[in-house]
């Protein structure tokens, strides 16, 4: 209790932010002041006992004046505190010496000036400390002279030797103190250098690092760490964690910190929102640093931004999901016709179905075989594109022709569903792309438009042109899609195949394949859709050079 009070008194005004030398000087001032107050109080009490009341009163009043040093340091007037201490202690001693001379005591109290001379050398910088040293020495001599004068002694050879001895002692003390101070300063410089080296390492580590003492005050923070909160290093060091960290981070980390204070390292991986609004994935550790008694002195904090890793992991997971989805689609869409064929052949051995019945399946089987083939082609093309094995061989392409051919392909479907299919083919120039790729894309988009449009609905295929490209638009009045689905289509994700309005099926690969092919040919694709109202696909194909008027010059 008492010792903690004393240690608090001795640490008055100490800030971790001040340079190490000044830190020490403040500490020394506090120690000296404390010592002077104690000494003065003690002297005061002892002299009362011996009935030397004048000295007692001087001591007691002086101790009150010394309290002002603490006040100055507390309010960070460190220099003023130091100077005040030196002046005050000189005055005190002068008063005491004077009193002792006038009361005719041969106490040689003036020798206390020697340690007092040393104080400015420790507390002050520059020439003033030397002046201050020698002025104090002159006061000492003055007191000596005053004592000889007042006591009526003679200035004999004895006095001269005393003065010379004093001068010699003062000179030696001056040299020693200056020498030691220089050694001390060099050590401090070394420490500063070490700190600089340390920071040049810390600041260049691609991680957020900090050291916090057990009270939660920052002792070290690298610049990545301070940048994280939009602050300078100096604005963090010496401050409390709880004042620097934003609430959202503090909430989750207070427990980590407290656990580390118990002496256990704590690791975490989490998603954080920074004051800048940016979110990162961070992985970090709190490591307790123990002193020789095993008590936790400080906690080192290490945090790395692992957003890229987490994102890479996420993208791997998505890829693997795509693969799973693909396999389940393939499994269902390819197995089901195969199962049908095999089952039918198996049971026909048993004569479970008649020959006539078997023949009646023929039409169905043919259709299924054709669609299975289409599916397989699509799958193989898609797989080849995923492996980068598809090359585009561009040539002049007549978009109008491609649309007409494919519309012809779906004639039965269009008539069967009673869809109002219209073509407005106004483009007069050729596009420049691989014709097969355009065929695949148009077949897919047209099939999709027809597949999701109800009986009696409308599908419109248009072509037009602008300065740089041929534009194809395919619009349907079908089911439409949510923005989420539109985005996933444009990202070339595989779609979960849904059944069309007349039970048409597909692998969901078609769109991904078509968009991939169009992209490979330098086409731009846009998709607009509204649930319940229908969709419009737009494809801009680069125009062929052949369309440019030949320069005759």
């Amino acid at each position: 209790m008492a010792s903690s009070l004393i240690s608090r008194i001795l640490k008055i005004g100490l800030q971790t932010t001040v340079p190490i030398l000044q830190y020490r000087q403040i500490l020394i001032t506090n120690y000296l002041t404390f010592f002077c107050i104690c000494g003065a109080l003690f002297m005061g009490l002892v002299t009362i006992f011996f009935k030397l009341y004048a000295i007692a009163i001087t001591c007691l009043i002086g101790s009150l004046f010394f309290l002002l040093v603490f006040y100055l340091n507390h309010n960070r007037y460190y220099r003023a505190g130091g100077v005040y201490f030196i002046v005050l202690s000189n005055i005190m001693l002068l008063v005491l010496s004077t009193v002792s001379i006038f009361t005719q005591q041969d106490t040689n109290i003036e020798y206390i000036y020697f340690p007092l001379m040393a104080v400015p050398l420790l507390l002050l910088e520059g020439k003033i400390k030397n002046y201050s040293y020698w002025i104090t020495f002159l006061i000492l001599l003055g007191v000596k002279v005053a004592r000889v004068e007042y006591l009526g002694d003679e200035y004999g050879i004895g006095f001269l030797i005393i003065v010379l001895n004093l001068l010699f002692a003062a000179w030696l003390l001056f040299l020693f103190l200056n020498f030691f101070k220089r050694v001390l300063l060099r050590a401090v410089e070394k420490t500063n250098e070490h700190e600089k080296t340390l920071y040049s390492l810390l600041d260049n580590v691609p991680a957020y690092m900090a050291l916090v003492d057990r009270n939660g005050n920052y002792r070290i923070a690298n610049h990545h760490y301070s940048d994280l909160f939009g602050l300078e290093k100096d604005e963090i060091i010496g401050k409390k964690r709880t004042k620097i960290l934003p609430d959202n981070i503090l909430d989750t980390h207070q427990m980590n910190f407290e656990k580390a204070l118990q002496g256990e390292p704590v690791s975490f991986l989490e998603r954080d929102t920074l004051p800048s609004g940016e979110t990162i994935y961070s992985r970090g550790t709190y490591v307790p640093i123990k002193n020789s008694n095993g008590k936790v002195d400080a906690i080192s904090i290490y945090v790395a931004d692992v957003s890229e890793l987490v994102e890479a992991q996420e993208s791997l997971r998505r890829t693997s999901e795509t693969k799973d989805k693909l396999f389940s689609i393939i499994a269902h869409d390819i197995r089901s016709p195969l199962n049908l064929f095999q089952s039918l052949l198996n049971i026909s051995d048993d004569k479970a179905i008649s020959k006539d019945q078997f023949i009646s399946y023929q039409g169905e089987l043919k259709d299924r075989l054709a669609s299975l083939r289409e599916r397989l082609d699509e799958l193989l093309d898609w797989a080849r594109m995923q492996m980068g094995g598809i090359n585009a061989y561009p040539s002049e392409v007549d978009a109008n022709e491609v649309i007409k051919e494919n519309a012809n392909l779906y004639k039965t479907l269009i008539e069967g569903k009673g869809i109002n299919f219209k073509m407005k083919l106004f483009c007069e120039i050729d596009g420049w792309m691989d014709e097969n790729h355009l065929q695949v894309a148009i077949r897919n988009l047209l099939h999709n438009a027809l597949k999701y449009t109800d009986t009696g609905g409308e599908v419109l295929a248009e072509t037009s042109q602008d300065d740089d490209s041929v534009l194809i638009e395919i619009t349907d009045s079908g089911a439409g899609m949510s923005q989420e689905v539109v985005d996933s289509i444009l990202n070339k994700e595989i779609q979960k195949s849904s059944v069309g309005t007349s039970g048409e099926v597909g692998t969901g690969l078609g769109l991904s394949l078509s968009l991939g092919l169009l992209e490979k040919n330098g086409c731009i694709v846009a998709l607009e859709s509204e649930v319940g109202k229908g969709s419009t696909f737009r494809i801009w194909i680069p125009k062929s050079d052949i369309n440019d008027p030949v320069d005759l010059d």
Binding site: A331, H332, R335, S336, L338, N339, L340, F341, Q342, S343, L344, N346, I347, D349, D350, A352, I353, Q357, Y361, E364, L365, R368, S498, V499, G503
Partner: protein
């Protein structure tokens, strides 16, 4: 003695036809219908309460066994699917027989139907 009623849930129309043409040859049962989607299937299950059910797993919408998890009526069920039997671990339904597509023979289905008829 009245016949056992049998419902087929299968979204591949042609495969459902094959199942039906085999099932009708079992004199003890009466095929009351084919459902190619889950909504119909749930409705027919509750209304007609068939004794025997031929059930496909992959149907667009819900999956086949999920319909059975929802309805109160629990017919004796033959699961017919292209998956291996381990797929049934995902569902909480009881079934009498499991047939992996393709059908090996007509008798495979006929025997399974008799298993259902004889199941107490």
């Amino acid at each position: 003695m009245s016949k056992f009623t049998c419902l087929i849930i299968e979204d591949d129309k042609a495969f459902a036809d094959i199942l039906e043409s085999i099932a009708v040859k079992v004199p003890e049962i009466d095929v009351i219908g084919i459902c190619d989607n889950t909504v119909d299937a749930a409705k027919r299950l509750e209304l007609d309460k068939p004794d025997i059910l031929l059930l496909d797993v992959n149907i667009s919408g819900l999956e086949g066994p999920e319909i059975l998890e929802m309805t109160d009526h629990k017919p004796r069920t033959i699961v017919i699917t292209s998956h291996g039997e381990e797929v049934m671990e995902n569902y909480d339904i009881e079934y009498v027989e499991f047939i992996q597509k393709p059908l090996r023979s007509a008798d495979q289905l006929v025997n399974a139907i008799y298993e259902c008829i004889n199941a107490v």
